[in-house]
């Protein structure tokens, strides 16, 4: 009984220390703000996802055309729009990075 209670008390103390550890390690931090993605980073993440999705779709179309799942006719019909999607995704990313100005010249 005594041993069990001692072990239980030790367990509770260890848990309290584990929970308090971030405050023990940094009692007076410069900043306690959560490092969240800002709006620009979130926008960039979405654009990167869009780029990867468009490029993966192009790659998959090529492969499925090669395997015969997509006919020549369907391949030609889809290739143009997928390339446009990929190009606009890349362009949007470049624009976000300030590398390329939009086609209409706006900033």
């Amino acid at each position: 009984m005594t041993l069990a209670l001692l072990l239980a008390a030790a367990l509770a103390v260890v848990c309290v220390v584990a929970v308090a550890l971030p405050f023990i390690r940094e009692p007076d931090p410069e900043s306690d703000e959560l490092a969240e993605l800002d709006d620009d980073e979130r926008r960039r993440l979405e654009l990167l996802e869009g780029r990867d999705r468009a490029l993966a779709a192009l790659k998959e179309l090529e492969f499925e055309h090669r395997t015969g799942t997509v006919s020549d006719e369907d391949y030609r019909a889809q290739l143009g729009s997928l390339r446009r999607d990929a190009a606009s995704a890349l362009q949007a990313l470049a624009r976000e990075s300030g590398e390329v100005r939009p086609a209409d010249g706006r900033n």
């Binding site: 959560l34 993605l37 179309l61 369907d74």
Partner: protein, 664 residues
């Protein structure tokens, strides 16, 4: 040591409540140290739950009958392996296992993702903690495994049907599946709460969902085999409410695993996917409620208990909160992309989803109808096998066909000309198989014949996909054919692992159709020396013996088995009379034909004092394909679960482009 167990659970409850409250405050106020502290509390709760589990396991292994739980579920004579399985054999122990797995999965999922998805994780922690708080509260206040008593001389023992090797793996696998579905749920709710609805919650949970789904699938197959060899009624799935309780979340998770591919590729179905995750988790909770509340009569429900109302209340809160949150976030979940054509792979996935959901809801209605009718009319009306069989055929057969159609259609849209080319071979193979089977007499069951024909279509599609894919990889630079095959799988594990899983489902369908639509049964009361026939089998009842094992008296009838002119040896069937448990179980005799997959299945239904026995005998064609399907399913699941280095590199590159760490 029960005090240590109780204290450990109390600390777990405290840590869970802290992780819930501090985690929610940290997420809302944006406080870094508080968020980290809540994460530490969640991880620590796994350690404290493990201590509680170790105390219970120790008590079981010591046969410490001062623990009420140990005295109720084991006895001195119970073999050690089953003493260990008693951990999850009773209500309190199985709830402790739920909490142990939940806190372990929570700690692992949070630790693995708190680098690259740190802004999402802060919202995931309180969701995990909320679920953990519920289970810890149940174990502390309602169903403690550490209740004590004056130790009796011996325990009450274990229900005989649970004294089977399958009980060492079947329940833990189901629990891994049920609890594993908490991970996608926690991340989905965390994403909704935080408005971080980018792809990261899908990427973070993909393998967890696959793992949970695979564990549920394999757990159910093991359970079916347990029912087949142990329960002794001649079947493997009885549409028992608790069996259905495991099937429903599996169906919902299957729908999610398909529809999530549409979201990843096309950015569509975001609301639908979140709803499927909520449904799968809610059904996992409902499954635990059915198993453990004693609300339904089932071979799996061993006790009436007080946890039922708590579970119902928790499920109601989960469903109401989750649906309210989805409704609130619908504007952010709208997709700019639309379905381009009803003849496309995403459309096929959508049809697959609708059928899976329809089957799931039909089963759910079958499960809750007796409960509702009892509540309303005072009489439980049970929907029988014909109800479930009807919906299995109505939704299951088109689902089977869609498994073959989906891979043959291109994403976005496909022309009729293209379809004519890709469908040519599989359709030809299916028609040929149908005609041959009709000629061989399979027309005696139309659903069986349709299932076989559709199965041939799907198998032809799978073979064609692997063959054409390997050829394409060879053309793209692989030096050898095996190299091209390896490259094909390693470059798209989910797709080709998925095809292996499809092959397993086809084998399952063939096994189920063969053993249910084309089986035969014979019954006879035989005295020693008498014989009976079934199909072309001849069985002669030779002798009846009695022997004592560690915890039971075993009575076995020996039968000579012949097929035509061939002597197939002997088969034993009988009963076990368990001394301590005061129960009798059927011990069936099974002779499997490895070449044809057929089983001869003998039940000694009633043994009379004069030695005569009432036998019931089945011949079940192709039934062994069901168990073989389990192995193929496991292989397919492992392929899909295997880490994909290319994908990892892509994710690392993407994370570094945004400036977030790719590792914790």
């Amino acid at each position: 040591m029960p005090e240590l167990g109780r204290a450990a659970l109390l600390v777990t409850l405290g840590l869970s409540v802290y992780a819930l409250v501090a985690g929610a405050m940290a997420a809302h106020l944006g406080r870094r140290r508080l968020a980290r502290s809540a994460q530490n509390a969640l991880v620590a709760s796994f350690a404290t739950t493990a201590v509680a589990a170790a105390v219970l396991l120790g008590a079981l292994l010591r046969n410490d009958f001062s623990f009420t739980y140990v005295a109720r579920t084991t006895s001195e004579a119970l073999p050690t392996a089953y003493t260990i399985s008693a951990f999850w054999g009773g209500q309190e122990g199985s709830l402790l296992l739920w909490l142990l797995v939940l806190s372990g999965f929570g700690a692992a999922a949070v630790s693995l993702n708190r680098g690259w998805a740190r802004d999402l994780i802060v919202w995931v922690v309180p969701v995990f903690a909320a679920v953990s708080t519920f289970f810890a509260f149940l174990l502390v206040a309602v169903a403690s495994p550490f209740a004590t008593q004056a130790a009796p001389a011996d325990g009450a023992g274990m229900t005989p049907s649970l004294q089977n090797p399958y009980m060492l793996a079947h329940p833990p696998l189901l629990y891994l599946g049920y609890v594993g579905l908490t991970v996608p749920f926690a991340f989905a709710i965390g994403a909704l709460l935080s408005r971080k609805l980018d792809e990261r919650w899908l990427i973070a949970t993909r393998r967890w969902t696959l793992f949970a789904w695979a564990a549920l699938g394999i757990g159910q197959l093991l359970g079916s085999h347990w029912a087949y060899v142990e329960v002794g009624w001649g079947g493997y799935y009885a549409w028992d409410p608790v069996e259905n309780a495991a099937l429903m979340p599996w169906l919902a998770a299957t729908a999610f695993l398909h529809s999530v591919m549409i979201q990843e590729r096309r950015g569509m179905l975001k609301v639908w996917n979140v709803l499927l995750v909520i449904l799968a988790f809610s059904l996992a909770l409902f499954g635990t409620f059915l198993t453990r509340s004693g609300v339904v009569n089932s071979i799996h429900s061993f006790t009436q208990s007080a946890i039922g109302p708590w579970f119902l209340a928790f499920i109601a809160v989960v469903v109401a909160f989750s649906l309210g949150l989805v409704f609130w976030r619908v504007p952010q979940l709208r997709s700019p992309t639309k379905l381009e054509s009803p003849i496309s792979r995403e459309a096929a996935f959508l049809y697959n989803n609708l059928l899976l959901l329809a089957l799931c809801l039909a089963i759910l209605w079958g499960v809750v109808y007796p409960l509702l009718s009892e509540a309303v009319r005072g009489e439980a009306i049970v929907l029988g096998r014909s109800y479930y069989d009807f919906f299995l055929r109505a939704f299951g057969l088109p689902l089977l066909l869609l498994m073959g159609i989906g891979p043959l259609i291109a994403w976005r849209r496909a022309s009729l000309k293209s379809l004519a080319t890709t469908f040519r071979w599989p359709t030809g193979v299916a028609l040929l198989a149908g005609v041959v089977l009709l000629f061989l007499g399979a027309g005696s069951s139309v659903p069986g014949l349709v299932a076989y024909t559709f199965s041939a279509f799907v198998l032809a599609t799978i073979v064609m996909e692997f063959a054409r894919g390997t050829r394409a990889r060879k053309a793209l630079g692989a030096t050898t054919w095996p190299g091209a095959f390896r490259s094909l799988i390693s470059r798209n594990r989910r797709r080709y692992g998925g095809y292996v899983v499809h092959a397993a489902i086809v084998m399952l369908a063939i096994g189920v159709a063969g053993s249910s639509a084309f089986d035969s049964v014979a019954e006879a009361k035989l005295a020693k020396g008498e014989s009976m026939t079934i199909g072309d089998y001849l069985l002669v009842y030779r002798s009846l013996d009695e022997r004592a094992s560690a915890n039971a008296t075993e009575i076995r009838a020996t039968l000579d088995v012949r097929r035509g002119d061939r002597d197939l040896g002997t088969l034993q069937a009988g009963k076990n009379a368990y001394t301590i448990e005061q129960q009798v179980s059927n011990e069936v005799g099974i002779r499997s034909d490895r070449l044809t997959g057929e089983d001869l299945f003998v039940i000694a239904e009633q043994i009379d004092p004069d030695g005569s026995i009432y036998f019931r005998v089945f011949v079940k064609p192709l039934v062994n394909l069901i168990w073989l399907a389990g192995l193929v399913f496991l292989v397919g699941s492992l392929i899909t679960l295997w880490p994909d280095r290319r994908e990892q590199r892509r994710l690392v590159a993407r994370a570094s482009e945004v400036g977030i760490p790719a590792t914790p």
